[in-house]
Every structure is written in structure tokens, then in C-alpha cells.
């Protein structure tokens, strides 16, 4: 059985992602130098949408409450600048939003369709999975809706309960034909969203809502793109590979804090923000686990059937002889997302720290 590992070059790693910047180059592009402005996640999204709409008249933005600025302020000012025809409210129907967006994309436009909360994306599931994902395939390449980007707030917010906290990437990761991206920083959000809007395949862009206001950094105010399918190495280490995406790997995220605790214990962590769920950066992860021999994956989504299972299965297969401990997952519980017990339900700092220690001491 051929594997991606055996096709890697003997020295160094064959980069499968096009136009790949080095980490330093990426940092410069994101930061913007003199053109950098402090942004939080929602202003970074706003900036991305502004850049995209200024550059390309075929880009438009719509969804529930988008016109006045959006319930999370991601679209503030855009209707004034680009007009009601390009930044508009839709009736309250996620299946309608997704279907309408597909129709526009098929005609060569680049619709950015907002689903107000990822918890409410399910009426659009059919349109996304049966239509958008299969549009190119079932038409023998005659048609596609690659210009489509669906963006939606996701993940825990501290008080969201069952229907304002969900992580939905795993449902869609099972469906070939989509790209799924989850940023964890304002700069990544801007660069990745700009890439999604120009990407020739339909993209699902999931925005950790708690980061809208709490994540802040200097971001290039101009247009820049970051590669889809390429993970971000947060820090280099040698003892264990720790992977996550979204809120857990943000600057103040639970996994980030767990890694800091581990570092304080003298554990050297190779810490990766996956950023793209499909197609995920298997090269970076394999290279890392071949080096460290240990893996902990953490995501807010529930354990069973979560995307961590996919990573662990692939890494077990590809890095079996390198492993010093069983790869493990630290995830949300297999129950609906609770309100009062949120912190106990989530893969919090202490659960993740325990898992790292256990793997290192195996």
C-alpha cells in the first residue's frame, strides 16, 4: 500500500502545497510591518471582506443580518461602501442561503455566504454536501461552484449552550469535494479567508466566535493570502507533537496553556495549529511525529467521529515504528454542549496537560 511517507524525499520534506512561504516569510506577510494595524478577529474578517470586495466586483456577502454589520460585526461598514446589491440580508433560511450562493457561484461569482451560527448550518447540509461538494464531479467538470465560500461562527463562547457553541467540521470533513478551514488568529483568519474567496473549490470557513473580540494582534491592513492545506508550526519541540485548531490553539487557548504548563515542566512540545481540516497538512504532522514519537490531538468537537480520530488513524499507520506512546485525543464529551458545565465538558487546560504528561511518561 503506497503511503505519503514513502513518497517523501529522502532528505527534507517534499512540499506538496504550492506557493509555500517559509514560517518567517509568512510572519512578515501577516504582520505587515509599517502596514500592520492591531485587529481582533472580527475586524480582521471585516478587513478581508473589504479587500476582497474592493479587488473583485464579483465578490459579494450575504446572510441573515449581514447588511447592518452582522451579529458579530464582521460586516460593519461594508454595505455603505459596496452597496446593498453586494452586501445584503437574506430571508431566514440556511438552505436558501446555501442554495442561492451555489447558484451565484455557478455563474462565476464569488459569493461569501454567512451562516449566522454553525449550529444552524444543518438545514444547509444537503446543499453543501449533496450539491456544492459534488457540483464539479457530477457534471464531468462542465460546471462548478468553486467561487463559493461559506463562513460561519463556531466553537464555545463561554455561555452558548447547545446551539451557540458547536464545532461542525467533522460532519463536513466526511464529504469529499469541500475544503474546510478553521483559523485561530486574526492574521490567519484574514489571509485564509482571502485564499478561500479566491480558491477554485467550495470552502467552508469556520470562525471561532470567542476569538472575535478576544484574539488581537498586528495584521497587515493590505491584501495577503495564506496557503490552504498548510498547517502553522506554533513552536518547535522534540518530546511530543501537540495538534489542535481554532480556539484551543489561540494565544489564550486551553491547549496553548496546557503546552505552556508542559514546557514549564521541561517538556519540549512541537505545537501545531492545523488551520485546514480538509485537506490537512499530513506532511508537517508526519515529520513532527517521526521526530517526537508522541502525539496528542485536541479539538472542541465531541470525541467520537471527531477529526482527531482521522489524524490519529493516519499517523498510527504512517508513523507506527516511530511511536513511543499511543496517540491520544482530548476532546469534547460525547454529549450535547452544556451551558453551566461548559468548562468541564470542553478539552480544557488541565485535561490537555494531563494527556501531554501521560504521553511523555508512557
Amino acid at each position: 500500500m503506497k503511503s505519503v511517507v514513502r513518497r517523501l524525499a529522502p532528505r527534507g520534506i517534499m512540499r506538496q502545497t504550492r506557493n509555500c512561504m517559509t514560517p518567517a516569510e509568512e510572519k512578515d506577510v501577516k504582520d505587515g510591518g509599517a502596514d500592520g494595524v492591531v485587529m481582533n478577529l472580527f475586524t480582521a474578517i471585516n478587513s478581508a471582506l473589504d479587500c476582497a470586495m474592493e479587488k473583485d466586483p464579483k465578490v459579494c456577502l450575504f446572510g441573515e443580518d449581514v447588511n447592518f454589520g452582522g451579529v458579530f460585526r464582521c460586516s460593519v461598514g461594508l454595505a455603505n461602501k459596496y452597496g446593498k446589491d453586494r452586501v445584503f440580508n437574506t430571508p431566514l433560511s440556511e438552505q436558501g442561503i446555501a442554495g442561492f450562493a451555489i447558484g451565484m457561484a455557478v455563474m462565476g461569482h464569488k459569493p461569501v455566504a454567512e451562516i449566522q451560527f454553525a449550529d444552524y448550518i444543518f438545514p444547509a447540509f444537503d446543499q453543501i454536501v449533496n450539491e456544492a461538494a459534488k457540483y464539479r464531479f457530477r457534471s464531468g467538470g462542465q460546471f462548478n461552484c468553486g467561487g463559493l465560500t461559506i463562513r460561519s461562527p463556531c466553537m464555545a463562547v463561554g455561555h452558548g449552550g447547545l446551539y451557540h457553541s458547536q464545532s461542525v467540521e467533522a460532519y463536513f470533513a466526511h464529504c469529499a469535494g469541500l475544503k474546510i478551514i478553521v483559523p485561530s488568529t486574526p492574521a490567519d483568519a484574514k489571509g485564509l479567508l482571502l485564499s478561500c474567496i479566491d480558491d477554485p473549490d467550495p470552502c467552508l470557513f469556520l470562525e471561532p466566535k470567542i476569538l472575535y473580540r478576544t484574539a488581537e494582534e498586528k495584521v497587515n491592513k493590505g491584501s495577503f493570502k495564506l496557503p490552504i492545506g498548510k498547517a502553522r508550526k506554533i513552536q518547535d519541540g522534540t518530546d511530543i507533537t501537540v495538534i489542535g485548531w481554532g480556539t484551543p490553539v489561540s494565544d489564550n487557548g486551553a491547549l496553548t496553556k496546557a503546552v505552556k504548563r508542559a514546557e514549564a515542566d521541561g517538556i519540549s512540545v512541537d505545537f501545531i495549529d492545523l488551520r485546514t481540516i480538509v485537506p490537512w497538512d499530513v506532511e508537517m504532522v508526519v515529520e513532527s511525529v517521526q521526530k517526537t514519537g508522541r502525539l496528542v490531538v485536541s479539538h472542541e468537537a465531541s470525541l467520537t467521529g471527531g477529526f482527531g480520530a482521522e489524524i490519529v488513524a493516519t499517523i498510527t499507520q504512517e508513523c507506527f515504528l516511530s511511536l513511543e506512546a499511543p496517540p491520544t485525543r482530548v476532546c469534547g464529551l460525547d454529549t450535547p454542549f452544556p451551558l453551566v458545565h461548559e468548562n468541564l465538558w470542553l478539552p480544557n487546560e488541565m485535561k490537555s496537560y494531563d494527556a501531554i504528561k501521560k504521553a511523555v511518561n508512557y
Binding site: 447558484g103 450539491e131 477554485p200
Partner: protein
């Protein structure tokens, strides 16, 4: 009273008393206050446009809306639809293809409506619009190649039969999921309005698909967002075995257009002239007024739902014969008209039917000899560029086939 003047009138009529004052609420049409509760159910009957009578004569206020050449083109597509249907249905019964879906009885609904459109109008079909496909250029060979899923199938054997792909004809792909395309057409219609194009998007759908959430949402979206979109519902009386009496309680599909604030018309779907005129007028309205139109074409599904269905189990005895009698059926009705105009005769009709049958039979014989598409086409057209995990799966699959050639009838596949 100071301020607003109120005028109170007591009517002897039904003992109601109401204030003639406009109710000022958001989002409703102007109306009055009443002081007796009154529950409304409908807005009255919806008339059916009929211009070509079952006896083949036009209504006195109607002229033939197309040239003789166009009339014969439309008729030719309708006859081909019927003849191809009969042969392909038989082919399924003989085991030569796996599945087929006829269009019998609905030839006018799809052909005449399509004829009234412009070539640049983008059509989203459901699956019972063969006349439309033929009008736009689908050939017998393409039909057979698709239904056989052979190497010349544009879909590379990916989909069920009748899921035609017609390149460069502004027709989207037929697919099995119901109603989803109805929600997509408005997106295109919106784009046409933004771009100032002389173009409409069109979604065909049946009375059953009209119940899908996507279809209902689509009507609302198109009306609110002012999309240059035509919604053409073929109300043929059945959704597989479900008669319309089990599908909806309202006044067909047309009543929904009114609810969503859309220009709506109900048409005798078996009347070529009415369907043509209504569609042409609807298209003009949509492009000029930059808003959608709903057309409900009343027709009848003569055949089974598909070859997986036997409608004799649930259809009342004699119903088909009753519906097909007295010139109600589209081909017979239009033929009477053409003959009355001296444009057609029995001999030409016989020859056309034979020619059509010959085309599809010849195509079938050629199609059956072709190979299946190469298995690599399970992976092509997945993304703009194939990601690593699919490249890996593809390579593993091909390696597996290579190691087990004798188990997989590789000779059946092109270049395997």
C-alpha cells in the same frame, strides 16, 4: 375626537361593523381593521390558461405564436421524446440499461416552455424534461451513452441514467436530489440582474419537489431579492405513488406564488401554444421588471414514475385512458393543430416516428458496444487539483486492481 378622525359605519351586511381605517403594520399589504373574527382560506380560484383546444383549434383571440419551421421543430422534439422514451423503457426491461425515467404526457410542458426561452437562459432541470433537452440539442447517442454509463458518457459513468450532461447548451445537470436546484436558480437570476443581462435562470420541478423546503425557500428568496428567475412547476398529478391530494392542501403550486408575492400564472401544460406564450411573457416580465415568475403547468404523468415503479398498483383503473382521451394529450393535440394548418399529415407523422425510433435504436446498438470509463474517473473532477489523500487513494486503488486483474473484468474498462 381630536387628532385622527375615525369614521364608524355600521353595515346591515352580515352584521359586521368595521372602522374604515388603514391598519399600519410593517410588512403587510394595506388593509382595514375588522371587528369580527374571520378566517380566510384562499384568494379564490386560479384560472388556467388554455389557447389550443383539445380539438386542435386555437382560441379566437390567439394566433400561432411561432413560425411553421419552429412549430415543426417543437413537434419533432415532442415526438422524439416519446419515441426515445418507449425504446429506452423497453431497453431497461430487457436488462440493457439499469434504469429509465419516461416523460410521457409531458412533452409540451418541457419542449414548448424551452422553445420560448432564449439560448442564453440557464436551465436547472429536474429529471422529466427530455423535450427540453432535445430542444437544446441532446442527441440520441448522448442519451444512450449516459444511460449506459459508457466511456463517452460526459459524467464518466458517475450517475444514474437520465442524468444528462449537455455541454455548452446552458443546461445544468440533472441530479437525483429533489428540489435543491430550485434554491440555486435564484442565485443565478440575481447575478443576471446585477450584471444587467438579458437572461433568466429557470428551474423546472414537479408537484412533489415543490414541497421540499428548498423549493419553498427559493420562491421567497427570488421574490425578496428580485431575481430574474422562472420557476416552472410541472404539476403532473403524482410524486411516485403520492397523488397531489396527499401532497398539498392549498391551491396547487400557483397559490404559493401569491403567498410569496410573485407574479404567477397557471397554464394548461398540455397546450403547446399556451405554454409557449406564457413562458415567453414570463421571461419578458422577468427581464423587464427584474423579478421572478412562477408558472404552474397542469399536466399528467402517463408513464410510471421510473422503471422501478409500477403505477398500476396505485393508479385508479381507467384513469390514464380517461386523461388521454379527447385530444387532451399534448402530441395528439398539437398534431391536430398542425394538420389543420396544412403543416403536417399522417404519412409524415409515421415517417417521423420511425425515424426517431431508428435514431435511438441505432444509438443503443452503438452504445452497448462501448467500454466503461476508466476507474480513475472516480477521482477526476473532484477538486480543481486533486489533494494528497485522494491521489493516495486513487493510486492504491489502481495498484490493487493491477494485482487482481483477473477478478475485475478489466477488459470492460477503457484503457485499463
Amino acid at each position: 375626537m381630536k387628532g385622527r378622525r375615525e369614521v364608524l359605519r355600521t353595515l346591515a351586511f352580515g352584521g359586521r361593523r368595521f372602522k374604515a381605517q388603514t391598519a399600519a403594520f410593517c410588512g403587510i399589504r394595506e388593509s382595514e381593521f375588522v371587528c369580527t373574527p374571520e378566517f380566510r382560506r384562499d384568494c379564490g380560484g386560479f384560472p388556467v390558461l388554455r389557447q389550443l383546444n383539445p380539438d386542435g383549434t386555437l382560441e379566437s383571440n390567439v394566433d400561432m405564436p411561432f413560425s411553421a419551421e419552429e412549430a415543426l421543430k417543437i413537434y419533432g422534439c415532442m415526438v422524439r421524446s416519446r419515441e426515445y422514451d418507449m425504446v429506452m423503457n423497453d431497453a431497461q426491461r430487457q436488462g440493457r440499461i439499469t434504469f429509465y425515467c419516461t416523460n410521457l404526457g409531458e412533452e409540451a410542458a418541457s419542449t414548448a416552455s424551452c422553445a420560448a426561452m432564449q439560448p442564453q437562459d440557464m436551465i436547472w432541470p429536474q429529471y422529466r424534461e427530455l423535450g427540453m433537452y432535445l430542444y437544446r440539442g441532446l442527441t440520441a447517442q448522448q442519451i444512450v451513452d449516459c444511460c449506459s454509463g459508457n466511456e463517452d458518457d460526459h459524467a464518466q459513468g458517475r450517475a444514474l441514467p437520465v442524468h444528462y450532461i449537455l455541454p455548452d447548451a446552458n443546461v445544468q445537470v440533472t441530479k437525483a436530489v429533489l428540489g435543491t436546484h430550485v434554491a440555486q436558480a435564484p442565485g443565478a437570476g440575481y447575478a443576471y440582474r446585477l450584471n444587467g443581462e438579458d437572461r433568466v435562470s429557470v428551474a423546472y420541478f414537479g408537484d412533489g419537489a415543490a414541497s421540499e423546503g428548498d423549493a419553498l425557500s427559493a420562491l421567497n428568496y427570488a421574490a425578496v431579492l428580485k431575481c430574474q428567475t422562472l420557476f416552472i412547476c410541472r404539476n403532473n398529478g403524482y410524486s411516485i405513488s403520492t397523488p397531489v391530494s396527499d401532497q398539498y392542501a392549498g391551491d396547487g403550486i400557483a397559490g404559493r406564488g401569491l403567498a410569496f408575492g410573485m407574479a404567477t400564472i397557471r397554464v394548461d401544460g398540455n397546450d403547446v401554444v399556451a405554454v409557449y406564450n406564457a413562458t415567453r411573457a414570463a421571461r419578458l416580465h422577468s427581464v423587464t421588471e427584474k423579478e421572478p415568475v412562477l408558472l404552474e403547468l397542469m399536466t399528467y404523468r402517463v408513464g410510471d414514475h421510473t422503471t422501478s415503479d409500477d403505477s398500476s398498483v396505485y393508479r385508479p383503473k381507467g384513469e390514464i385512458e380517461g386523461r388521454c382521451a379527447d385530444g387532451e394529450m399534448p402530441i395528439e393535440r398539437f398534431r391536430s393543430f398542425l394538420v389543420s394548418k396544412g403543416l403536417w399529415d399522417a404519412e409524415k407523422d409515421k415517417a417521423l416516428a420511425a425515424e426517431a425510433r431508428g435514431e435511438i435504436v441505432t444509438a443503443m446498438r452503438a452504445g452497448e458496444k462501448k467500454k466503461k470509463p476508466h476507474p480513475q474517473h472516480m477521482f477526476t473532477d473532484m477538486y480543481d487539483e486533486l489533494p494528497w489523500h485522494l491521489r493516495e487513494q486513487r493510486d492504491n486503488m489502481l495498484e490493487h486492481i493491477e494485482k487482481n486483474r483477473s477478478k475485475y473484468n478489466v477488459a470492460n474498462y477503457r484503457d485499463l
